[in-house]
Each structure stands twice: as structure tokens, then as C-alpha cells.
């Protein structure tokens, strides 16, 4: 079974080498693919030195754009499983085996690593934001999930063939659920651990851009 781990990264020079090294230690992974989303620092170069294959976006296109590129690569090179993991170091690469478990056992096409079991590890404001986003995902797409904002996901070959990401920025997290539903993919959740640091909290989904995400999603629905 060919497994690809996709790391969408934007200006993560400080942590990317460690993240790539951590993923490479996990058994059964064929390739670590860093999608350098137009970083202005040495993210791509350091990821390559750490042993990752690097795809470079000439312009910053956002999280959705970077994930879409990673999934397109997985599809082109016929990987059986593709895993997405955050570049800020908040995820534990050792959880990869557990997240791909339901796909290996043929029980799921898409698996989300959820932070709910270890909710005490998640700061209160993030927990509120996750709840609001889950509610929004249900309201807009009729899909129930415990962690619609998780960046830790796994996709089967079937999912890779059927999912076509359209959104470009943070709203990709919610959009994925509409694609899972539309393509009738089997969905599963696996609890994962997270470690929030000052650094990881300053990256990724900030509380302030939640409204922006909502606007983008509504615009997509209304078109």
C-alpha cells in the first residue's frame, strides 16, 4: 500500500525540518510531500534537506490550494492513501498509523483525526471555534462531524479520484465535508492528540478569519 503524507506549508522554516523528520520516522510511509505555498523564507529548501519531496507554488494560494495540489500529486502518482498533516508541528506523526487504519481495513474513504477526545489539550477559544464550525458544516452541508477544522486527514484512492477541492483558503476544511457527502464516501473519525504551542497558535485558523470563511462558503453556495 503506497502512502503519501502531504504537508501544506507557508513560511514554516522554523519547524518544517522537524515535522518532516518526525513523519519520516513513521513506518510504512512511502513519501513525504511538502507543498511550499509560495513561502518567502527557506521552508522548501529546509524541507528538501530533511528528506521531503517539495512542490513549489510560485504564488501563495492558501491552505485549500496547497492541499488540492498535494491531492492532485497523490492521484497522478497513484498513491493508495494520502494523509494531510499540519506543518506547524501541532500533530503527532505517530498518529498517522491510527488515522489511516480505517482505510487500510477498507472501512472508510476519508478519515479525520479529531481533537475531541483530548479536548482538554485544546484551548477554550479554539474549542468554541471548532463547535461553531461543526455547526456551520451541518447547517451548510448537512454533515455531522466532531472536528470540521482538523488538518489531520486521510484519503483513500477512491476519495482521491472523487474529491475536487474548489476553495482556496481555510474554508477548505468545511468544503471537504460537502464533497464527502456528494460523492457518498465512507467517513470515519479517529481521535488524535495535539500539542498547541505559541507558534502553532499564531498560525493556521485564527479566530478573526472565521467570518471570512463563512462569507466565502456562503458565496460558494449562492453562486
Amino acid at each position: 500500500m503506497k502512502v503519501l503524507v502531504i504537508v501544506p506549508a507557508y513560511n514554516e522554516a522554523g519547524v518544517i525540518a522537524g515535522v518532516v523528520a518526525g513523519i519520516r520516522k513513521v513506518k510504512g510511509i512511502n513519501l513525504v510531500l511538502v507543498v511550499d505555498d509560495g513561502s518567502s523564507d527557506r521552508t522548501g529548501e529546509l524541507a528538501e534537506k530533511a528528506g521531503a519531496r517539495v512542490l513549489r507554488h510560485t504564488l501563495n494560494r492558501g491552505l485549500g490550494g496547497a492541499i488540492g495540489t498535494g491531492l492532485a500529486y497523490a492521484k497522478n502518482y497513484k498513491f493508495d492513501v494520502a494523509v494531510t498533516i499540519d506543518a506547524d508541528g501541532q500533530h503527532d506523526p505517530r498518529d498517522i498509523r491510527r488515522v489511516i487504519g480505517p482505510i487500510v481495513e477498507n472501512k472508510a474513504d476519508v478519515v479525520i483525526g479529531t481533537r475531541t477526545k483530548y479536548a482538554h489539550e485544546v484551548p477554550l477559544d479554539r474549542r468554541v471555534m471548532i463547535k461553531v464550525s461543526n455547526w456551520l458544516t451541518y447547517l451548510l452541508f448537512g454533515f455531522r462531524t466532531n472536528d470540521s477544522l482538523s488538518g489531520f486527514r486521510a484519503f483513500s484512492r477512491k476519495a482521491l479520484d472523487n474529491i475536487h477541492i474548489k476553495t482556496q483558503r481555510m474554508e477548505v476544511s468545511n468544503e471537504l465535508f460537502s464533497q464527502i457527502k456528494r460523492n457518498r464516501l465512507k467517513y470515519s473519525e479517529v481521535p488524535i492528540s495535539v500539542s498547541y504551542t505559541e507558534y502553532s497558535r499564531s498560525k493556521g485558523q485564527t479566530n478573526m478569519n472565521a467570518l471570512n470563511v463563512l462569507t466565502k462558503l456562503l458565496l460558494r453556495l449562492a453562486r
Binding site: 507543498v35 509560495g38 519531496r53 512542490l55 513549489r56 507554488h57 510560485t58 504564488l59 494560494r61 492558501g62 485549500g64 490550494g65 488540492g68 495540489t69 492532485a72 500529486y73 497522478n76 474548489k166 482556496q168 466565502k216 458565496l219 460558494r220 449562492a222 453562486r223
Partner: protein, 123 residues
């Protein structure tokens, strides 16, 4: 028919807008559908400027009261719709840009893989 100063000013403005639509259409920078849309908008505007009483008749029919109010409501709705369409068009453009950046990244990767294969085979 005697025109007021406002009517003359508005007619000049609309004529100018018409010439813009015509010139951009001739350059092929405005799609056919958009040309028809603008002809209808500016044609309607000319009609209203020439026959302002028509707006009062229309306003009474739809129950707004004053003709000027009816025009204002219509203009507002049209503007909101156009802002929405512009937003959607912008999003589509961004999507196209992302797809372009994606294909470039994948092609560059393919090229570097091919090059490394060639250099390995030479060794």
C-alpha cells in the same frame, strides 16, 4: 420636448456610457451577454430620463409611491446583484489562478524528476 439641465447632463452621461460599451465590445473585451445587459440598462435609463412620468406610473403599479423611489430601489437591487456577480467572477478567477499555480508546480516537479533520471543514467 424641452429638456431640463439635469436631463441634458444625464443624457450626456448615458451617451458616454453607451460609447464605452460599444468600444469595449468592439475590442472583444465584453461578452455578448454583458453587452445586451448594458444596452438594456442604459436604454432603460434613457427612457426614464426622457419620460420621467413613466416611473410614477410604474411606482403606483408596484405600490412604492414616488417614481424616484422606484428608480432608486431598482438601482440598489441591480447594484447589489452586480456586486455579487463581481464577487463570484473574482472567486472563479482566483480558482483559475490556483489551478495554474498547481499545474506549474506539478510540471516543475516532473521536469526535475526527469532531469535527475537523465543525470543518473549518464553516471
Amino acid at each position: 420636448m424641452q429638456f431640463s439641465l439635469l436631463q441634458v447632463f444625464l443624457l450626456l452621461l448615458i451617451t458616454f456610457s453607451f460609447t464605452r460599451v460599444y468600444l469595449r465590445a468592439r475590442e472583444g473585451r465584453v461578452e455578448q451577454g454583458a453587452v445586451i445587459f448594458w444596452i438594456l440598462i442604459w436604454g432603460g435609463a434613457i427612457f426614464i430620463v426622457l419620460f420621467p412620468n413613466f416611473t410614477t406610473i410604474l411606482a403606483n403599479k408596484i405600490g412604492v409611491g414616488r417614481g424616484a423611489d422606484a428608480v432608486l430601489y431598482f438601482a440598489l437591487i441591480t447594484l447589489f446583484y452586480m456586486v455579487f456577480r463581481t464577487n463570484v467572477a473574482l472567486e472563479n478567477l482566483k480558482q483559475d489562478l490556483t489551478e495554474l499555480v498547481r499545474q506549474l508546480a506539478l510540471q516543475d516537479d516532473q521536469k526535475s524528476q526527469d532531469e535527475s533520471k537523465v543525470s543518473r543514467s549518464r553516471k
